[in-house]
Symmetry: C2
């Protein structure tokens, strides 16, 4: 079955204290969301609505560095201005997820306090308004150690299992797949980014026609446990 | 604009020596590919058609380990049976890309010798048959150091630049983006995987409605140069 990725227009700028749940509900109206749809929302508008914004005091680069050091659970690598840090959620990413793009002038945006809670709240409201059962992903843009360029990943999840576990299923040739876990939540986040884009001002997308793995997972399911980590 | 991802049905099993270009051309017929479409093909059928298949001699796990060591340019990490290796193309992935899933019994599949050349050949044929100009991505499934689960990435590219460079463009708030390079080829590969899936037997997908970055890039554009690598 084909899959459709629809950009959600009309959300506009979001400021601290804005009622993001109502804004999303309204913007989704014309699309008539259905059970089984996946709503992907970039964390930027979630963080803004939740007030996770700081005002830069002094030199922006110095302020950011000091803030990253204070916010990070640990610093994983550092070269020049670049800091790869572990956030308190366990995500490993540049600047502990703190970012100036799509922020108001003179401010920086932090990650949501609890992206899974943010995803659940959005799901509850949208499910209630439209009488449906949809999946919600909060996305962010991460780098990768050995590949150039950024891709979007899932940092908060509600209404689905973020990983599709194919262990024990057979492929078409009859071979039993062993350690095959697919991070479909990250693939959905990346797919949604193709219609959003940092420069386009579209902060959310609806994905239709994808059968999500059933379950009640979270974004932290996608964090590799430190005991399995060969690269820290 | 919405984006559509269409699974390409009817390709079936591919064996060494098969004329993959004709098989793809035929399978695409009903979809009437258009200029601007992106054709994503999993490397498995490309490798098979190109004869990049080895017959396992002795214990499969021992044979695989020995073969990985022989094929890899370097071994990056190792724990138990798991080998993270650099392929001769520069990709860093498990088992240097050698895989038993979707292989005939008693065989293993290697990466294509030159995935960019494979992508160019497919593009040339499909462009010629349908009188169009499309982009082609050869995909593979890679793990990530800090995130659980696999996602599909682009290892071969033709007819597009794999990275969208937003440097110098402004976001909606007027902030000038600096080091923002988006790996759209990897995002397209991940999006295509959502309709393919290892277990479903669909080895290719057509993505419609995405405006690819113009250019004549390659899969190796996505390999981070060792000089910028903090994690090897």
């Amino acid at each position: 079955m084909s899959l459709e990725i629809v950009p959600i227009e009309g959300i506009g700028a979001v400021a601290p204290g804005d009622d993001l749940l109502s804004i999303l509900g309204e913007a989704l109206g014309d699309l008539r969301p259905r059970t089984g749809d996946v709503l992907v929302v970039t964390h930027k508008i979630v963080s803004k609505a939740e007030g996770r914004v700081v005002h830069i005091d002094g030199d922006p680069e110095e302020f950011k560095q000091a803030f990253v050091e204070a916010e990070a659970k640990s610093i994983v690598r550092r070269r020049g201005d670049l800091i790869i840090a572990e956030t308190k959620h366990g995500f490993i990413c540049a600047n502990a997820g703190i970012d100036r793009s799509n922020a108001e002038s003179g401010t920086m945006i932090l990650l949501p306090e609890d992206p899974d809670r943010s995803a659940r709240r959005i799901k509850q409201r949208i499910d209630h308004v439209f009488g449906i059962d949809l999946a919600v992903i909060i996305s962010d843009t991460f780098g990768r150690p050995w590949r150039r360029g950024l891709t979007d990943v899932a940092i908060g999840v509600a209404g689905m299992a973020p990983i599709l576990d194919l262990k024990g299923t057979t492929d078409w040739s009859g071979y039993v797949l062993d350690v095959t876990e697919v991070s479909v939540a990250d693939e959905l986040a990346s797919a949604a980014d193709l219609v959003m884009g940092k420069a386009a001002g579209i902060p959310a997308a609806l994905i239709r026609g994808y059968q999500v793995p059933a379950g009640d997972g979270s974004g932290s399911d996608l964090v590799r446990p430190p005991s399995e980590d060969l690269f820290r």
